[in-house]
Symmetry: C2
C-alpha cells in the first residue's frame, strides 16, 4: 500500500525551557492540524537517549498522555542519531501494511540543560566500546575521517580547511533564512578560522551544535500531494577501525541503493537533498555516497556552487544539522519536514527552491553505522519512463562500491610492540567526562595491515605528527599507544624490554 504525507510540524530549534514532551506536543499539534486529524491509529516516537538526557523511561507512554491521545498505541524507536528517520521508517511500514490508516511520527531530544562534558559522554556512548575507552568522541572520529579524506584525494591541510569552511558558510547562510534554525547568522571565513578548535582539524563551526527541538509528520494511506517514494536503511561495523574505507560510508551507499530501487529512481532524479552534516566533512562524503558526485569529487561540486541554495543541486536548504541545530533524536525527521516544506512551496520566499518536486533526506546513525535514506515526491510530478536506462547514475556504481555484503575485517588481534603507520590523527580538546584535555588519538595501521585506534601520551599539540609516517606502537594498560619514531623512544622501548 502506498504511503503519503498528511501533515508536518516542528518547533524552532535551539535552547528551550520547555520539557521535552511539551516540545514534542507542539510539533505534533502542528502536524495533526495540517492533517485535519484529532486522533491517529498509532504514534511512533523517535528519541535517542531520554534515559540519560532527561531521566525518563517509558517515554512513548508519557508522550501520548501529554498529547491527549491516551489509549493510542505508542512505540519508541531508536537508531542512534538517525532516530527520527528510523521512527519514520517504522511508521511507514505500519501504514504500508494496510493495518493502519493514519500514523503520527514524532521525534525530539532535549540536550542543552546538561554540562557539555556530560552531553559529550552521553553522545560518545554510540561509539563502539573498544574505541570509546580511548576517550574518543564523535568530533574526534569525524576529524580523523576528514584527515583521511584529505590524504586520499591529495588535498593540503589548507585546502581541506577551506573546503570545510565553505560547507559551514553555505549552511549558515541557508540557516539565516530558516525561521526554525538555531543559528540565524551568516558567518565569514575569518569567523570560521577564529572559532575554537574542537578536535584538530575540526573547529566549533565544523560541528553541529547541542540543541533542543522536536519535529512531527503524519503519514496516511489516503493519497495527498506528497508520497513516500523510497526508504532505504543499512548498517556498518560498530567499530570505525574495523572498516575497509574511512572516506565513504557503506551504510549510506547501501541505504541509498535500496531507496532508489524502491522509488525506481536514480541519483540524477533528485532535485535537492538534506544531507547529514553533523560534521562538515560528512556533507561532502554524503553527496558522494548518495551518488550525486563521484568519490573525491564532492568538494569540487561545493566549490563550483552546485550545492548552494540557488545551485543545480541544493544541499541542506534548511541550514542542515550545522545551522538548523541537531537535537539528536529529532534531526532525521526534521530533514523530512524541510523536504515537505519545499515540496509544498511553504519554505518562504527567500528559501523556497524553484524545482521542488522530488527531494531526498540522508540521516547518519552513530559514526556512519545506522543510516537511512528517504525520498519524498510530489504526486503530481510527471515520471519519465526509464525502461532502457541503467538503474543508477554514472557517478555511482553500486556493484563495485557497495561493500555491505563484502567481508569485513575482523577485530584486531592481541597486543603488539612494534612499528605502525599513522593513517590519521586528531587532537581532541572537548573531551568526555573523565578524560584529560587535550587528547591526541590516531588510526594506526599495524605491520599486519590492521587499523587500530591508538592514543598518544604527549599531551601537547602534536605538531610533529604526520599522516603516512611510521610511528612506534605498543600497548599500555590494555590500550594501544603510539609515539613518534625517534631514536630516544626506540631506546626506551628496548630498555623496557
Amino acid at each position: 500500500m502506498d504511503v503519503y504525507i498528511a501533515g508536518v510540524g516542528m518547533t524552532k530549534f535551539g535552547k528551550s525551557k520547555e520539557p521535552l514532551e511539551k516540545m514534542m506536543a507542539e510539533a505534533a499539534s502542528l502536524a495533526l492540524k495540517e492533517a485535519q486529524l484529532e486522533r491517529v491509529d498509532a504514534v511512533y516516537t523517535g528519541v535517542m537517549n531520554v534515559e540519560e538526557f532527561v531521566g525518563d523511561s517509558n517515554f512513548a507512554t508519557l508522550l501520548v498522555d501529554t498529547l491527549g491521545l491516551v489509549g493510542v498505541p505508542s512505540t519508541r524507536v531508536e537508531t542512534a542519531s538517525s532516530t527520527g528517520a528510523g521512527a519514520f521508517e517504522a511508521a511507514f511500514y505500519a501504514v504500508a501494511s494496510g493495518h493502519m490508516k493514519h500514523v503520527l511520527v514524532l521525534a525530539g531530544e532535549k540536550m542543552t540543560h546538561l554540562p557539555t562534558a556530560k552531553t559529550t559522554r552521553i553522545l560518545s556512548e554510540v561509539i563502539d566500546r573498544s574505541e570509546r575507552r580511548y576517550g574518543v568522541t564523535m568530533p574526534a572520529l569525524a576529524a580523523m575521517i576528514a584527515q583521511k579524506y584529505a590524504r586520499e584525494f591529495n588535498l593540503s591541510q589548507l585546502k581541506l580547511e577551506d573546503i570545510l569552511a565553505q560547507v559551514a558558510i553555505k549552511n549558515h547562510t541557508n540557516g539565516y533564512l530558516n525561521p526554525y534554525a538555531q543559528f540565524r547568522k551568516i558567518i565569514t571565513k575569518e569567523e570560521y578560522l577564529k572559532s575554537q578548535m574542537v578536535s584538530y582539524p575540526l573547529r566549533l563551526y565544523d560541528c553541529a551544535p547541542i540543541t533542543d527541538g522536536a519535529s512531527a509528520i503524519v503519514l496516511t494511506s489516503q493519497p495527498t500531494a506528497i508520497k513516500v517514494s523510497g526508504i532505504g536503511h543499512a548498517t556498518d561495523t560498530s567499530a570505525v577501525t574495523h572498516r575497509i574505507s574511512f572516506t565513504s560510508f557503506d551504510s549510506t551507499k547501501e541505504a541509498a541503493h535500496k531507496a532508489y530501487a524502491m522509488a525506481q529512481l536514480d541519483p540524477s532524479d533528485i532535485q535537492f537533498a538534506e544531507v547529514h552534516d553533523a560534521f562538515t566533512p560528512f556533507e561532502i562524503i554524503g553527496t558522494e555516497d548518495l551518488g550525486f558526485f563521484s568519490g573525491g569529487e564532492g568538494w569540487k561540486a561545493l566549490e563550483e556552487g552546485i550545492t548552494q541554495l540557488r545551485g543545480r543541486l541544493p544541499i541542506n536548504p534548511s541550514g542542515g544539522l550545522k545551522a538548523r541545530g541537531h537535537p539528536v533524536g529529532a534531526s532525521g525527521l526534521a530533514q523530512l519536514v524541510e523536504i515537505v516544506y519545499q515540496l509544498e512551496g511553504q519554505a518562504g520566499p527567500e528559501r523556497q527552491l524553484g524545482r521542488a518536486e522530488i527531494g531526498l533526506a540522508h540521516s547518519i546513525g552513530g559514526l556512519g553505522n545506522n543510516n537511512l535514506v528517504t525520498i519524498l515526491e510530489r504526486t503530481d510530478r510527471k515520471r519519465i519512463s526509464k525502461a532502457n536506462t541503467p538503474p543508477f547514475g554514472q557517478a555511482w556504481n553500486s556493484e563495485d562500491q557497495c561493500g555491505t555484503s563484502a567481508p569485513k575485517k575482523s577485530a584486531p588481534s592481541p597486543p603488539l610492540m612494534g612499528v605502525g603507520t599513522l593513517e590519521a590523527f586528531t587532537t581532541l580538546y572537548a573531551v568526555p567526562e573523565g578524560f584529560r584535555s587535550p587528547l591526541t588519538l590516531g588510526f594506526v595501521k599495524t605491520e599486519k595491515g590492521e587499523v587500530v585506534m591508538a592514543c598518544n601520551p604527549d599531551y601537547r599539540s602534536p605538531k610533529e605528527l604526520k599522516m603516512g609516517k611510521k610511528v612506534s606502537l605498543k600497548t599500555r594498560e590494555g590500550l594501544y599507544v603510539f609515539e613518534k619514531l625517534t631514536w630516544w623512544n626506540r631506546l626506551k622501548d628496548w630498555l623496557i624490554k
Copy 2:
C-alpha cells in the same frame, strides 16, 4: 500480507556472565537455524534501557555486528516492560507491508550485575514523574492495586494473601518443568509466607525477579506451520492515580479487543496464554481484562484449578515472568517463544499441553500503560465459522468496559490541607536509591473526589492504617502527606495554621 513464524530461540534465563549482545546472539542463532536462514532483510531489537543497565547507546548497530549481519537494517524498539512484544509488532508490520520477507526480532536485557537499589531506581523511571518523586516503585504500585482489588471484591487480607500465594505456587510449579526458567523450584505456601516483604502485602515471591536473558523470533511472509493471527496495542495514562479504575487495565482490554478483532476470534477460542505476571495480582487481573473471566472472578478460576498446567485454560505454562524470570526487554518476546514451543509440540513431555493450536501472549509496559496482546495460531487448525455469533465472549463486554476513548481524569489540582479517604496503601521495604526504608505510600481520595499519591511520615509499619478510613491530607515540600486522623494530628495542624 500474512505473517508467519519461521524460527524461535532463547537463552536460559537467570544470571549470566556474558555481555548482553552475546546472549542475544545466542538466541538469534537458534532462531535463524530453525528458520534455515543465514541473512534476513532487517533486525528489530527490543531492549528497554541499555543506556543505564549496560551503558551503551546505538545498541541496534552493535547487535548486527555481533551477529555477523553487518549491513542489515537494524532498529531498536522500546515500549517499557512490554518491549519484546513491541519489537515483534514493529517487525510484524515490516513483513505485513510486503517490503520485507524475513525479519529477525530480538529482545533482551542484562540486569543482575547492578546493585538492587540501582536496578530499582532504573526500573522506577518508567513511572510518571509526579508519582516517582514519592519514591514509589513498581512493586509498591502493584501492592496498592492488589489492596484495591481485595477491597473492591470483598476479599479479606488473609484471602488475598492466599490467592497471591496460589499464583506464585502455580507459576513456580510450571517453571520447575521449564529448562529455560530462572527458578526451577517448587515452592510451598509456608515458603511463600516466609519470603521477605517487598511492599506490603507483596512478598518476594509475588514479584518477578531481576534477570538476564534474551529471546528471538524470525518472522516471514512465506507460509509456515504457525501464523500471527492478531496483534493489539494500547496505552493508558502515564500516572496511575489519573485512572478511573485501579483493578483492571484499560490498555489490556483495548489491546485484547484489537487483537481479537484482527484474528476474528474471541476469548473463548484461546486455549492457553502467557499473561504478564511481573506481580502475582497482575495475573489475576490480566485473565479478567483479556476476557477469560469476568471482573472479580479471576481468583475463583485460579482456585478452581482452571489456570493450572492441566486445567481447562492453562495460564503461564512457562512459569511466567515470576518463575521463568523477567529480563524486562526480553519478556514480551519470550512469552511468544513459549507459545511457539507449545504450538510446535516442543515444550517437552512434562510441560507440553494437550490442546495447543492457538495461544495468546499479554505483555504489560510500565504500570499497565503500554500493553500488547498477540495471538499465534497453527495454520492447520480448523476454524469454525462464527458468522452468527457475537464477536466477543459473554465474560467480556468491550463496549461497557473498554474505557480508552472515555475521558480521563485530569491531573490533580494544587495543594490542599484537609481530609481524604485512604483508597489503598503499602509499606515499601525495597526502596530506590536515595530514599529511606521503609516508606509508606497511599492513594488518597480528596474531598473533591480526585485520587492522589501521598506518603506517610511514620516510618514504622503502619498497622493502624485501614483502607476506606479518613486520613488527614496536606502538602509538605511539594508532596502530599497523609496521616491517621487523630485528635493530636488535628491539633498539630491547627497549631501550625
